[in-house]
């Protein structure tokens, strides 16, 4: 219960936030990523709003030492910026700028029953599986 309830609540908040922010609408995401006439800057405020909470929040939490229901804060194993990281992020950006979906909004689209999001998520999971197999 100490695992599930916070996870469910965080997921709910996240899903509501993604939908109302406009991130779940690929056309708006593309209008934000597309420079030139008709550029829609409003989605910059999504990351701005999120960071306004997480930057001070994470700093305060780390000073407290440990999370409420776990031994320690998880930290990704690697700390070095390497070519694999930069290339991977660029390939992700390529797909994001092509369809206007990143993983969270695409999953929200699945929940809304959008066929396009369903295809995107299936291909995304296949791509992730193939990559895990190939780089193991």
């Amino acid at each position: 219960m100490r695992e599930r309830l916070p996870a469910l609540l965080a997921g709910l908040l996240f899903g509501v936030g993604l939908l109302i922010s406009g991130m779940a609408d690929p056309q708006r995401v593309l209008a934000f990523l597309r420079w030139g006439a008709g550029w829609d800057p409003s989605l910059a405020f999504v990351m701005g709003g999120a960071l306004a909470v997480t930057v001070p929040g994470f700093a305060i939490l780390r000073r407290r030492g440990r999370p409420l229901y776990a031994e320690r804060f998880t930290a990704p194993a690697s700390a070095t910026v390497d070519r694999r990281l930069l290339a991977g992020a660029a390939v992700f950006g390529l797909g994001w700028g092509w369809a206007g979906y990143c993983p969270g909004p695409a999953l929200v689209g699945v929940g809304l029953g959008h066929w396009s999001a369903g295809l995107f998520v299936l291909a995304m999971l296949a791509g992730a599986l193939l990559t895990s197999r190939a780089t193991r």
């Binding site: 908040l13 899903g15 779940a24 999504v46 990351m47 909470v53 992020a89 959008h114 296949a126 992730a128």
Partner: protein, 141 residues
């Protein structure tokens, strides 16, 4: 125009609060790609991942049902289908190689002051903007 900014910022604040809640309770990073792929690769801690993703789908659905903010799905076309499959594949490969997406690197990693996340965020923002801008130019927009 201004109301759009305010609604987007409010959505962002909710996203940030969700990430903070998960980090404060379980110490986990709210990275959607990592949470999803953990279910595929047989991570030992699958329970909370299902609950989080279930909440994500339910939250999006509820917000759409209670507001007028949902955008309609595009009409079916082979063109759009091919784009979704191709782009989805790239996003899956890229987020695996790069260990994260917009949420894990962009929202949580930047707040953790992780150099890897700063580099990844610059890389995917630049690639995303270049791709969207060039494709629009090619389409003659």
């Amino acid at each position: 125009m201004h109301t759009e900014w305010i609604i987007s910022a409010a959505g962002g604040i909710l996203i940030g609060s969700a990430a903070l809640l998960l980090y404060a309770t379980s110490g986990r990073i709210a990275g959607i790609s990592g949470i999803s792929f953990g279910l595929l690769t047989g991570a030992s801690d699958r329970g909370w991942r299902w609950w989080f993703l279930g909440g994500l789908l339910l939250g999006g659905w509820l917000a759409a049902a209670l507001s007028t903010l949902e955008a309609a799905a595009p009409p079916f076309s082979l063109d759009t289908a091919a784009r979704m499959l191709g782009a989805g594949l790239l996003v899956g490969i890229g987020t695996r190689l790069g260990n994260g997406c917009t949420s894990g690197h962009g929202v949580c990693g930047l707040a953790r002051l992780s150099a890897r996340s700063v580099a990844a965020t610059i890389s995917f923002m630049a690639a995303g903007m270049l791709t969207a801008t060039i494709l629009a130019k090619l389409a003659g927009a």
